[in-house]
């Protein structure tokens, strides 16, 4: 499973680095990256710096650095201001709007959860008047402009912790304060992220390449079209013959990929469809 975080500040990243036991990637590249890589779970975090262009660039950088993973979970974590919401509250963005262009993204809320959600406007300069009853930040739209191309939108979310409001102005924000806000919410945030990852894991399991695929493509030359047909046929095999391993030796008499596909297709076409009856 792949999980990627984008934060603007090192202070926003600290609690995540600690919780996910991330280590600084060396040598340093364009942006500071922290990662933890096991065979089962890849997790990485990039610190973008402040502002929309930086967030977009850092997201693209991390995506490229990690090998352009598919169906990964991408989470933008950071602080946001709000007219009335209480400082310290974790809020999931249900709409992200770029104030400059008025372009919006709507992160699908597929998880059933009890966390607050709210619209989020990304501004180019700090917003201290909070003119609308929404959250304000300076990065989420930049993050979405790229992350929405990296994965399915259900897996791309922005989680904000309210750092300032009319009673607690943004002028009071400092590094330790931001670190504390994140530390206080890390367990709730990690739980939300874990549930997103469960969805992503299930989706990956459903779409996993059938085991026999590699054996076939090593044995015969399949064109790209034939590779797609092979994947389809092997998936049919998994459904129609769930208890039977697809043994490549049964096709050893086939002279080429075309004969393999014919043989597989003919055999599968004859299998009864039972719908669990």
């Amino acid at each position: 499973m792949s999980l990627y975080f984008v934060t603007a500040l090192k202070a926003e990243a600290a609690a995540l680095i600690d919780h996910y036991r991330l280590k600084a990637r060396t040598p340093k590249g364009l942006f500071p990256v922290y990662e933890s890589n096991t065979e089962a779970h890849a997790c990485a975090l990039v610190v973008s710096g402040i502002g929309k262009p930086a967030a977009a660039a850092a997201t693209a950088y991390l995506h490229s650095l990690m090998g352009e993973p598919r169906d990964a979970v991408w989470v933008n974590v950071g602080i946001a201001g709000h007219h009335t919401r209480e400082v310290g509250e974790l809020v999931i963005a249900n709409k992200v709007t770029d104030a400059a262009t008025q372009r919006s993204w709507y992160p699908p809320q597929v998880l059933k959860h009890t966390l607050s959600t709210e619209a989020l406007i990304t501004v180019d300069r700090p917003e201290t008047d909070y003119p609308k009853p929404v959250m304000y930040d300076m990065e989420a739209a930049g993050f979405y402009s790229i992350a929405s191309k990296c994965s399915s939108m259900e897996f791309v979310q922005s989680c904000k912790i309210i750092s300032d409001n009319q009673q607690s102005p943004a002028d009071d924000i400092n590094r330790d304060y931001v670190k504390r806000l994140l530390e206080n919410n890390i367990n709730i945030l990690a739980d939300f992220v874990k549930r997103l990852e469960q969805y992503a894991t299930e989706w990956r399991r459903i779409n996993a390449m059938p085991e026999a695929y590699d054996h076939f493509v090593q044995q015969w030359h399949f064109t790209v079209t034939q590779q797609n047909i092979l994947k389809t046929q092997l998936r049919r095999w998994q459904v129609l013959l769930p208890d039977q391993v697809c043994d490549i030796s049964a096709y050893k008499s086939c002279r080429n990929a075309s004969e393999v596909l014919s043989s597989l297709g003919d055999m599968l076409d004859k299998r009864p469809v039972k719908f669990g009856m």
């Binding site: 998880l111 059933k112 779409n207 719908f275």
Partner: protein
Amino acid sequence: MSDSIYIEHAIQNHPRVLDLTTRYPNARRIFCERYNEVFNPAAQNFRLQKNNPALILAQKQSGFVLPVPEGYGVGGEHNFYFSHMLNCVYDCRYCFLQGMYRSANYVLFVNYEDFECEIDKTIGAAGDAECWFFSGYDCDSLALEGLSGFVTHFLKFFAERPRAYLELRTKSTQINSLRSHEALSNVVVAYSFTPQAISSALEHKVPSVEKRIAVLQELQQLGWPVALRFDPLIYCENYQFYYKELFAQVFAVLDSQKIHSVSLGPFRLPKSFYNNISRLYPDEALFAGPLALNKGMVSYPEEFEQEMLTFCEKEILEHVPAEIFFPCVAV
């Protein structure tokens, strides 16, 4: 009920929107300019969204009444469909909506009066000819009645237009809106069926065949014209046994003399829809069976399809006269 409601800014004070948001005060409200900002973006996963679909309240702008696809009618001269909703509360694996839309969210168009206006224009343009309006093409006509009030609203409209026929196509057993209205001879309630064993495997969240038949019987006794839609026909081992059993089950309970129509349709999907759906459900037995591409449509191989159609037609005609039987097979 959905825990998120998206609302187009322009209709936030529409009476139906106010009613719905009052009735579901705990649902989070998210405003958008146009529903397609939420519904149409490419990188969405229909299967994942089906776990928790949101409701999108929108205003239909154009294309209120459209001609039906070839082969869709039940004998009428002029056939149209209109969709007050996009997407369905049920989760039928063969449904083309999964392949047509990127999002599983429900879109409810609240401007019913604009639909009515276009339906009136269509009736007027047809002169003295009868017009049929099919409502269950992009959604189930009844399943979200508690939320939409669609049937309650349109029964009043069609009651005053006896030359126009409305088909409500459904799998829902929520029929309170029909129970509380006098039966109308120009409103046909059509139920879709597959045999229970197939329904259990493919029609998720759909009421059982037994419950649907009981509801059909009640509607028939209340005087509503009822219809049967065996569409799509699904192939499986021993399909003859399952379909024969289904026909026996249905016709044992219904008064065959009072059935408005029976239609039969093969399983067919445009290639692009099929590709989308089979990518979403690679683990689905329906798509692991024998399928073939013919003239841009994915269906069972011709010999299978013809065999099933012939078998089911013969069985059905043992119960109902040929005049009310409509095999919906587009050429």
